[in-house]
Amino acid sequence: MASKVIMPKLSPTMEEGQIVRWLKKEGDKVSMGEPLAEIDTDKATMEMQALANGVLRKILINEGESAPLGQLIAVIGDPNEDIASVLAEASAPAKKEPEPKQPEPPKAEEASPPAQPSSPPPPTPRTATDNGRQGGIADSGRMIVSPLAARMAADSGLDLRSIQGSGPGGRIIKRDIEQALTRPKAGAAVATAASGYRDEPATQIRQIIAKRLVTSLGPVPHFFLTVDIDMDRAAEMRESIKALDPDLKISINDIIIKCTAAALMQHPPVNASFQEKFIRYYEHADIGVAVAIEDGLITPVVRGADQKSLSQIASEVRELAERARSKKLKPEEYTGATFSISNLGMFGIDEFTAVINPPEGAILAVGAMTSKPVVRDNQVVVKQMMRVTMSCDHRVIDGATGAKFLQTFKKILENPLYLVV
């Protein structure tokens, strides 16, 4: 029976290993425990031992080449055994195998504090080098957690590995669990996002751009795009709807939401979110609408605005805003937007920039609609003008991408008939 040799985990932080030297050639006899190869991990060059008896039938990763953890790197088998099926597996596209018998991090209920000397060492000072350490894993590599903290974590379904212990030697203690429980759960925003999405791997260059921009500009590197929009037809449409049915109360902002959703559908790269290792493209436009409330602001979300009619959007926004002001929104009603709009027009603000609400990729800052002299066909005419500024997360949206979206947005808003064609 052929035995697979896979890239072993030889250091706690190792993600891939490079073959420095094969210590056996194809065709050599190997026995269990015998050194098979030297592997360069991220930390040191380590010897890899054979885990089976037989003949080294095939070397798949040559000296100098690297392989991720778990990848098949060689095959040990009987001299005449057919190993084609094992090799076929290796040539199949990078399917990650489960890691080989690695010591699992201890489960919460198994974790117990080690015997402590009568005076435990002082708490390890947090330094930059600690950042790479996995949560709750002490320097010894063992998870240290107080019995109480272990039980609390088990009761509340917390993964101890996600928690950084603040006790001596990194011990996870009660206060760490309490803090973790008061933090919003990671991924909660995603879970409540109603829109479907597809995840595409962030390319190497995208990741590098992301890292560089973050270090230069802060956690979310903003840039801003501003455009003037002729609102005559949008205002006209609003009046026409009102004339049609006085009960239909449509605001300019509702029209802006609808046009934004329509434009987003034509520009998926703007309806997206940077997620470190990948970029998430949303299928629908879940529009967050910033609402000023007594002690701050909140952004209730109009789900699937691209699929809703203007009147639906109008009544939904009205209802959400009302409940936002009386603080009766449920968390899933104000989290998980894919794009946000902030409108300060009613305060007479002509132009402003808004701060992106992560993990959204952009936010549109909408100014007041005012009558202005503009030049049309070499004539100065008075038009209802409105200025919008879009803040973009440069990690996911580039200048041209954002500009093209704004172009579409302007086109639709200046000719709202596009909404129906």
């Binding site: 009568s118 435990p120 107080s146 006790g167 203690i173 009660k174």
Partner: protein, 327 residues
């Protein structure tokens, strides 16, 4: 309620029990003519006469044995050791006779006897006269071990001990005889053996303390309150039987424990309490149980070394801060 010293509270307890039950008598070195080495038996000879209040020769093993025999014959002796350091001479009678008689006689002979006297650390009397022996006696099935920390507890517990049908080791702290407190003057006031007392309620850390450690723990708790740590101070009062339930309930609430005692740490009473906590409240502990004990050395005579050998306020505070993860 009158405010009296522990010395007076003990005197009241003995006087009331001598008056209440004519089978009760007290004997020991200097308890009669001299009113007791620590004046606990003051006035008793005059009041009850020399058949009830008896001076003995300096023969601890002898008069301890006399007491056991008297108890077997139906009397209720109180045997005073001038200090518990000298009880070491009497341990054969205490451990092999008093503690085991009920068991070995197939239930025929109860031994209703109280061995009492001062124990624990004293000031600058050196190794042989300054030590805590409660873990010795608490070790043996058949003995009850009582250690009061207030005048009211001293009176109520001593009366219960005298009325108890089993041998009781009643250890008074040598440095605490002058400690004052309110004591009920009701002659029927007693405190049952085996019931701990919560001396101060708190939420962040439990300090289990007995005898001399109780006032220190309370002082530490007051200081720690100013530092934002709320301590619960529990005095078991009786080492055997131990009211572990009260301690466990407290630990489940506070999740952290400091155990303070004067005695040496090895095989001490707190080693036992620590084990019980681990076994019964393991899932409630947020920090290892911390002991503050006397040093693992014979008590030094030199004042500076003596101070280092006995737990003090700072050591208790430091221990609480450690288990509360404040430092």
């Amino acid at each position: 309620m009158p405010t009296i010293t522990i010395r007076e509270a003990l005197n009241q307890a003995i006087r009331e029990e001598l008056a209440r039950d004519e089978r009760v008598f007290i004997m020991g070195e200097e308890v009669a003519e001299y009113d007791g080495a620590y004046k606990v038996t003051r006035g008793l000879l005059h009041e009850f006469g020399n058949k009830r209040v008896i001076d003995t020769p300096i023969t601890e093993l002898g008069f301890a044995g006399l007491g056991v025999g008297a108890a077997m014959a139906g009397l209720r002796p109180i045997v005073e050791f001038m200090t518990f350091n000298f009880s070491i001479l009497a341990t054969d009678q205490i451990i092999n006779s008093a503690a085991k008689m009920l068991y070995m006689s197939g239930g025929q002979f109860n031994i209703p006897i109280v061995f009492r006297g001062p124990g624990g650390s004293a000031l600058q009397v050196s190794s042989q006269h300054s030590q805590a022996l409660e873990s010795w006696y608490a070790y043996f099935p058949g003995l009850k071990v009582v250690m009061p920390s207030t005048p009211a507890d001293a009176k109520g517990l001593l009366k219960s001990s005298i009325r108890d049908d089993d041998p009781v080791i009643f250890i008074e702290q040598e440095r605490m005889y002058g400690l004052k407190g309110e004591v009920p003057d009701d002659p029927d006031f007693t405190i049952p053996l085996g019931v701990a007392d919560i001396k101060r309620e708190g939420t962040d850390c439990t300090i289990v303390a007995r005898s001399l450690m109780v006032p220190l723990a309370l002082e530490a708790a007051a200081k720690l309150q100013e530092q934002g740590v709320s301590c619960e101070v529990i005095d078991p009062r009786t080492i055997r039987p131990l009211d572990i339930d009260t301690i466990i309930e407290s630990v489940k609430k506070t999740n952290r424990v400091v155990l303070a005692e004067e005695s040496h740490p090895i095989c001490g009473v707190n080693a036992e309490i620590s084990h019980e906590i681990m076994e019964r409240a393991f899932d409630y502990l947020d920090a290892p149980v911390k002991r503050v004990s006397g040093a693992d050395v014979p008590m030094p005579y030199a004042k500076n070394l003596e101070q280092l050998a006995v737990p003090d306020l700072e050591k208790i505070i430091a221990a609480v801060r450690e288990v509360a993860y404040l430092d």
